[in-house]
């Protein structure tokens, strides 16, 4: 699936988008996989209360299932307007 990062999450991880092969069943399982990769992921995902996640462009909770998902995006709380 495609994993996208925005704002300071993108800056900490160092890229806006990547292809991730995963069998993670939920968003939180995917986060654990990413955290185990490299320090920069650990830094980006250190405090999940400071993050939001969207699966296929819909806001969801971190325990949301990933079955059939094409795109997962991680970002800080939004600051539009």
């Amino acid at each position: 699936m495609d994993v996208l990062y925005f704002a300071w999450v993108r800056e900490r991880i160092g890229l806006p988008k990547e292809r991730v092969e995963t069998s993670a069943a939920t968003v939180i399982a995917l986060v654990e996989e990413l955290r185990a990769r490299e320090d920069r992921y650990g830094a980006a995902f250190a405090d999940l209360s400071a993050l939001r996640v969207a699966v296929d462009q819909e806001l969801v909770d971190f325990d949301a299932p990933l079955a059939g998902a094409r795109e997962v995006a991680f970002f800080p709380p939004m600051t539009g307007g």
């Binding site: 996208l4 925005f6 704002a7 300071w8 969207a54 462009q57 806001l59 995006a73 970002f75 800080p76 709380p77 939004m78 600051t79 539009g80 307007g81």
Partner: protein
């Protein structure tokens, strides 16, 4: 309903004129038009050089459409306009605009406030302030999240 996400600037006066003409022509029962224009504000005491606005193409348009559709089910509205910019903006630049039309002012005002409250916290935009001596991401404010509570 018209949802616009663009990098270019817009002319709020012309947009309002067009919105008003279209609302009135489409429905003679329209008696109220409310508009709000947001402007890039320098909260850093004159040191803000650029406001960078990042967004999530695709989700942004979908989220704004959903928010506008929800407003149209909650209030009796003739039409809704949402314009939001992204990219590099300067202090004083117009950043976004909403407009609503309705038979009565209460619906038009409330719907415009609802649109503003939701697009601040539920549309995927992020602001970064480029200051004379550094840069910082604008943090989400608890008050903005709390503001959604009144629409439950």
């Amino acid at each position: 309903m018209r949802i616009v996400v663009q990098e270019a600037g817009f002319d709020a006066g012309r947009e309002l004129t067009r919105f008003s003409a279209r609302s009135g022509a489409g429905d003679p029962g329209i008696g109220a038009i409310v508009s709000f224009t947001g402007v890039v504000r320098d909260t850093a005491k004159g040191t803000l050089e650029v406001m960078q606005i990042e967004h999530y193409p695709g989700m942004t348009e979908a989220a704004l459409t959903k928010i506008a559709q929800e407003a149209m089910t909650r209030w009796v509205l003739g039409d809704v306009l949402v314009i939001h910019r992204f990219g590099q903006l300067a202090p004083g630049d117009q950043i976004m605009m909403v407009a609503t039309s309705s038979a009565h002012r209460k619906d038009a005002f409330e719907a415009a406030e609802y649109l503003m409250d939701y697009l601040k916290s539920r549309a995927p935009f992020w602001k970064k302030e480029i200051l004379r001596d550094g840069a910082q991401w604008v943090g989400a404010r608890d008050e903005d999240e709390d503001a959604l509570g009144r629409w439950d």
